[in-house]
């Protein structure tokens, strides 16, 4: 058989490391990516109020941020918003991914891909303005101004981010596994519960985390949609920058960075154990 032929040896590809200029480009890229972040983290520990002059190590900006009620309020709101929006978006994205990969081809399927991914294509500012106009009208009409508007808006733009990894996972999953489950007397629900869901789980977790980070990070749509006093961490920080810049902003950013790093590491730990 061809697969067992001893002649099947791969031509050895040349190493990218030997290409001229590799080290220079790599170094430049790494510096451009990480140097600003390193500086941001370093100055979050600055004793003084400057973002440019090092005056010694201290944790005062962390203490100040932690004690600041406006930061606490914004951080809590960001978390509630990101968790709600990411959860709802992931459930919707999971259903959409199943519907677009686990059904026979139907007319308009390409159209549905486009519709689901629409928030990735439309400039965020356009969505923001459109939502502002619609939500403002609803707010005036009902007098209701809770966080629900933010949750709806965030859910909407989180769906495609959750959808992409889930669909990618489903597409690499062998359809015959579900056929095998049904052949072995599993009902539709048990086929999903015992075979499809466990196998697509890493995709769902990836989608959830991506959606969470995207929501946590959002400024533009939040800025347009939020009612008075509904600051999230990013919009609070933006507001601070307009007034007086202190390393408190660095301290908050560092905490967000740490949280993100923990989430991503957790995700890799969770998914790499799986087949």
């Amino acid at each position: 058989m061809a697969e067992n032929s001893p002649l099947k040896t791969k031509a050895r590809g040349y190493s990218v490391k030997t290409l001229p200029g590799f080290s220079v480009v790599a170094l430049f890229t790494l510096v451009a990516l990480y140097a600003p972040i390193v500086i941001l983290v370093v100055y979050s520990f600055n004793q003084g109020t400057s973002l440019a002059v090092w005056e010694g190590f201290s944790l005062r900006w962390y203490q100040q941020a932690a004690a600041n009620e406006a930061v606490q309020d914004a951080a809590l709101r960001s978390l509630i918003l990101a968790i709600s929006a990411a959860s709802v978006a992931t459930v919707a994205a999971t259903m959409a991914a199943l519907a677009t990969t686990r059904t026979r081809h139907f007319p308009g399927r390409t159209m549905i891909y486009a519709l689901i991914n629409q928030p990735l294509m439309v400039p965020e500012i356009v969505t923001a303005v459109a939502l502002l106009i619609v939500f403002a009208a609803i707010k005036v009409w009902t007098g209701h101004t809770s966080m629900i508007y933010l949750i709806v808006a965030h859910t909407a733009f989180c769906v495609p981010f959750a959808y992409l990894p889930i669909r990618a996972r489903l597409e690499t999953m062998d359809n015959s596994l579900e056929a095998a489950a049904q052949d072995l007397y599993a009902s539709r629900w048990l086929t999903f519960r015992r075979v499809t869901l466990p196998l697509m789980w890493p995709g769902i977790v990836a989608g959830l985390m991506l959606a969470f980070v995207i929501s946590l990070d959002d400024v533009v749509i939040t800025e347009f949609v939020k009612s008075a006093g509904q600051e999230t961490l990013p919009t609070y920080m933006l507001g601070q920058l307009r007034r007086v810049v202190t390393p408190e902003v660095n301290a908050i950013s560092t905490v967000i960075l740490l949280a993100g790093a923990i989430l991503v590491s957790l995700f890799f730990l969770l998914t790499n154990r799986r087949v």
């Binding site: 015959s176 596994l177 049904q182 052949d183 072995l184 599993a186 009902s187 196998l199 087949v275």
Partner: protein, 354 residues
């Protein structure tokens, strides 16, 4: 056991419609090892999927033990499948895979455990029961797939080219293994393959398929020795096709020689095409005597257990003669360019319908 009544399957509609099965009728008996044999695209896998319930037939009916199961979902049919790629659940252990069908049937825990243990013993996989399916070899995956499909004791086991991913040696072992499993379990096996040798080795009966139709059904001996159609003869084993004239139960070859034959239904006297298997032709060097056919040797091909002579007849027809090798050859075989005299074994000539 299984009755398939004029099953037709059409994929697509209008211009793009493809008729994968065309009014197929077949009855498969209980405890039979039945093989669907044919080239790719002949409809054998479609027929299997119809029996499993993965596809509904466009027309026709499928009956199992007298009950019409045409419209039942796969989960409602006492039929299990061994998939070509095995389709083992990668997130479950070997034992977990085998237990799956039993759990879905709602069997009590101790019955599940004892059946799984029995199946592990049957396919000789006891020691690897806690392994992930990605941690075992292809041959072992094959055994797990078999055990998983056999565990719920289906009335019929469907096997979709299950040996095609294995190397030759393992495939030979698994052929014997499958035969043993079928005897031990007494379950009806419906086996799909494109490998004629596999079909001949394993089957009680074979249905040879082409173009969405069954051309012939019979036991391996009938299929090999009395193929009804040229396609069947050509697909199974090596063949010589010769022109001949049929008259009153005898054929006279264009190249000479008259032989008694059994005439298949619907073949009238006149010009016919006959089949002669290469191993049924004997050859010696020298001029043809009475009852022999004269030929010239074009090429001699040695292949270990036999030597095949490629010969030309005076009519221009080409004939192969496959002759078993004697120890250290006695040198009596004709050489390239020699004249040869051919003898045809009694009963070796089969009249074809087409």
């Amino acid at each position: 056991m299984i009755e398939i009544e004029s099953a037709t399957k059409v994929f697509g509609t209008g211009e793009a419609a493809f008729r994968a099965l065309n009014a197929v009728n077949v009855t498969i008996a209980e405890n039979e090892f039945f093989t669907l044999l044919g080239p790719s695209g002949c409809g054998k896998t479609t027929l299997l999927r119809l029996i499993a319930g993965f596809e509904p037939p466009t027309m026709g009916a499928i009956k199992l033990a007298g009950d019409d199961i045409t419209r039942l979902r796969p989960a409602e049919r006492p039929v299990n499948t061994v998939f070509q790629n095995y389709a083992l659940f990668p997130h479950m252990s070997v034992a977990g895979n085998i237990a799956f069908g039993l759990e879905m049937l709602g069997k009590p825990k101790d019955e599940v455990d004892s059946t799984v243990a029995e199946m592990l013993r049957l396919v000789k996989m006891e020691e690897l029961k806690d392994r992930r399916t990605s941690e075992i070899s292809g041959g072992q995956q094959q055994r797990v797939a078999l055990a998983r499909a056999l565990a719920p004791h289906p009335k019929v086991l469907l096997l979709d080219e299950p040996l095609s991913a294995l190397d030759l040696k393992l495939r030979k072992e698994m052929q014997i293994e499958l035969k043993r499993l079928q005897h031990e379990t007494g379950i009806t096996f419906v086996f799909v393959t494109h490998d004629q040798e596999e079909a001949l080795t394993m089957s009680d009966r074979i249905a040879v398929m082409n173009g969405g139709e069954i051309l012939q059904i019979g036991n391996p001996k009938e299929i090999y020795e009395r193929p009804s159609a040229r396609f069947v003869a050509n697909f199974i084993g090596e063949s010589n096709f010769l022109d001949a004239t049929l008259k009153g139960g005898q054929v006279t070859l264009a190249a000479g020689g008259t032989f008694d034959v059994s005439v298949p239904d619907g073949v009238a006297d006149g010009a016919v095409s006959v089949l002669l298997r290469p191993e049924h032709v004997a050859a010696r060097a020298g001029a043809a005597q009475d009852g022999e056919i004269a030929a010239t040797v074009d090429t001699v091909v040695y292949s270990g257990e036999a030597t095949t002579l490629h010969l030309s007849l005076p009519t221009g027809e080409k004939v192969k003669a496959k002759i078993g090798n004697a120890p250290l050859g006695d040198g009596s075989l004709p050489k390239e360019g020699d004249s040869a005299a051919l003898t045809v074994a009694t009963g070796a000539i089969t009249v074809l319908r087409d």
